[in-house]
Amino acid sequence: MDKPTATRRSLLQLAGWLGVSLAVSDWEVLAAALQHESGSTSEVGLSLLESGELADLEALTAQIIPTDATPGAREAGVAHFIDRALASFMAPLATQFVAGLRGLRSEVRGRYPEAGSFINLSSSQQIEYLASIEHSAFFASLRLLTVLGMFSNPSYGGNHDEVGWRLLGFQNDHAYSPPFGHYDREYPGFHVSDGAVP
């Protein structure tokens, strides 16, 4: 097969990192956006995204883990986490991710000219649009970063006030004692099984 192009190679790298496999169409989605990207995202700081991008990103993450009776990605500060991650400890992913986000924004502008941006779509339009890209590499990285922002240690800038952990029921104490759950509370003790062993 042909030598991978730089774009394709970088997408394969991203895919490898994410542990996902990419169909041909997936990286074609991003290829155009990546050609566009001029590598202006190399400086390291605490923020990378413009306010419009950040607003759309927050709306995107809020569709992945929505807010209902309980907090979601919005309350966990996931968009802030992603912005900070791309500007610092995940900087090697920034070029591809920002290109993907910009590609998404321009596609949304084209598809929904009256709304003009993802955040201005109705919730059902947002869901409809995301369903159309849910198998793309960009969506996979968006979901990965959303989950990491929701459930990683708050010191990284997400999981604000441990809302992600509380959503799961994860206590974050440093040590525990038995019983740990309902089913081990009244364990009668182990006995060796009867019967032949295969």
Partner: protein
């Protein structure tokens, strides 16, 4: 206690490369036997104060593992498949890069291999397209060393708990860890099906043992080093005991890049790069490589010379070949009440009813099954997305089942296939300018069939246990391995193996290899117990050879 310090020019008895599960044992045994030893470790020496419950760091940024930013690797799913280069995140061949090696971050599942793991080729017959072979040693030869691991390293468990367990000469030194809800439910489901669940042997203290405390049940075992020191890593067991002899120097941040040989084909010592990026040479009478199933073959291949043009100790051409990962499957189950599986150790109950291969299944393979937590929150949430809705309110509803969820994992065989391998990438270099690992791996179709079989057994057990919801994790060809096995296989025939039954390389009299690379077959997962039994046994023989002047 005076710690040993050796000058580079001082010819020590043994240079040991790699301070993990095998290297730690080797260092202690040889130092206690009166030999002068330098134990090399490419990574840092870390202590409990530096161990964090930080999923992002440990699983996504290579916090304590081989980091692709400095140690990149390339991966191919077959010799004619495209190559993917890892430069950020985590590597396809994954191991802890620190003193203690992967014994610092393992889960600590310590079942012994069984008789069949050593002579299965004779029982099952040839499997075409593979290098399936018997080991040159048998379970009975290894049994005393398994017992040594139980007692010297520290394993919790219950002898006689499984009617089909292989013979053992002594009980476990510690009782099993307290059962978790997942263990109770595995037991409930398995017994209903007429199966034989039993307490998991774990290399984690259930009670204080040999100066280390019992488990604090924090839940961060898999992928994390233990700040309680309750996990029986060589970092807390063998290595301090090796140092206490006054004859073992542990040299962290010391990356061995080459084994030197002289005109008569003997190893003379190792070239290494120290923490100040100075290239140095340590003289040694003999070299023992315990660098794991990825780095051991790599070091041999990097040590090529005029005399050894295909790599050191590679006259057979099989250095780096027959890489095996094992195959782990998962069945996720949700129950009515809370399990809180994130608390305490990964595994408390296992079963071996499907351990042996059975031709009636239509494929080669077998495995062990266990009940476990699955990972901690972030990785758990990513895995949940692979099993059902992956975003939106349905995904969120699944996330909220976290505390009522468990995993039934199947741990299966991998067949040795010659094209599955560790080799040197011809272009990619690491941060020290050394050739990077190129991994090539594609699961044998029988490995995948066996994985599906074990997963279905997990579904049946979960349903019998009363699960209200059962989901299957994906089964696909693997591109990530943390059991790194088979790449410098043991054998009697120098034409198709790298080391003999005593771990001496066929080609170089004073060069020994001992770690996962020595394996001939994959077992059914959980290789570290066997790696350490091999290391205790190899150290016995190597010490004996040295005493007799046979090195």
């Amino acid at each position: 206690m005076t710690l040993a310090r050796y000058r580079d020019s001082h010819k020590v008895d043994f240079a040991i490369v790699g301070s993990g599960a095998a290297g730690g044992v080797m260092a202690r045994e040889l130092a206690r036997n009166g030999f002068q030893v330098v134990l090399f470790e490419q990574g840092p020496r870390l202590g409990p104060a530096q161990f964090q419950h930080d999923e992002l760091s440990n699983w996504f940024l290579s916090g304590i593992t081989n980091d692709p930013r400095v140690s990149p690797q390339s991966f191919r799913a077959g010799v004619s498949e495209p190559t993917v280069v890892s430069r950020f995140g985590r590597n396809p061949l994954f191991y802890a890069r620190m003193v203690g090696g992967s014994s610092a971050h393992y889960t600590g599942n310590y079942w012994r291999f069984r008789e069949i793991d050593f002579d299965e080729r004779s029982r099952v017959g040839e499997i075409s397209g593979t290098g399936f072979a018997d080991w040159p040693i048998r379970y009975a030869e290894l049994e005393p060393y398994y017992t040594k691991v139980d007692w010297e390293i520290g394993v919790s468990g219950l002898a006689g708990a499984h009617p089909g367990e292989p013979p053992r000469s002594k009980p476990y030194p510690m009782p099993p860890l307290p059962v978790k809800s997942s263990g109770v439910l595995l037991e409930r489901g398995a017994r209903k099906l007429g199966l034989h669940p039993f307490p998991a042997p774990m290399a984690i203290n259930s009670v204080p043992y040999r100066g280390r405390p019992g488990c604090g049940h924090c839940g961060f075992c898999h992928g994390f080093a233990c700040e309680f020191t309750a996990k029986s890593s060589t970092l807390f067991t063998m290595i301090p005991e090796a140092e206490a002899t006054g004859r073992c120097e542990v040299r962290p941040d010391s990356y061995v890049s080459r084994i030197e040989t002289n005109a008569s084909g003997r190893a003379t010592g190792v070239i290494f790069v120290d923490g100040h990026k100075r290239t140095r040479f340590q003289h040694a009478s003999a070299v023992v490589v315990c660098a794991n199933g990825a780095e051991t073959p790599r070091l041999l291949l990097m040590s090529q010379s005029v005399r050894f043009p295909e790599g050191l100790a590679n006259s057979s051409g099989v250095v780096g070949k027959y890489l095996m990962f094992n195959y782990s499957t998962r069945t996720s189950a949700v129950f009515e009440h809370e399990l809180n599986e994130y608390k305490s150790v990964q595994v408390t109950r296992i079963l071996h009813d499907f351990y042996d291969s059975d031709p009636k299944r239509g494929f080669y393979g077998g495995g062990g099954i266990d009940a476990r937590i699955g990972p901690q929150p972030a990785v758990w949430a990513l895995r949940a997305a692979e099993e059902g809705p992956s975003w939106g309110s349905a995904y969120k509803a699944r996330l909220m089942e976290f505390s009522r969820s468990m995993v039934i994992a199947g741990h299966g065989t991998s067949l040795p296939v010659a094209t599955n391998s560790v080799s040197l990438d011809s272009e990619l270099k690491d941060a020290w300018g050394m050739p990077a690992i190129r991994a090539t791996y594609r699961d044998h179709p029988d490995d995948l069939a066996n994985a599906r079989f074990l997963q279905e057994r997990g579904v049946e057990i979960a349903e019998a246990a009363g699960a209200i919801k059962v989901m299957r994790g994906p089964i696909a060809e693997q591109s990530f391995g943390l059991h790194l096995l088979g790449t410098c296989r043991m054998g009697d025939d120098p034409g198709n193996s790298v080391i003999d039954r005593y771990h001496r390389t066929h080609d170089v009299k004073n060069l020994f290899l001992c770690d996962g690379s020595s394996f001939v077959t994959s077992g059914r997962g959980q290789p570290t117990m066997t790696i350490q039994a091999l290391a205790f046994r190899a150290a016995d023989h190597i010490g004996r050879f040295a005493r007799r002047g046979e090195i």
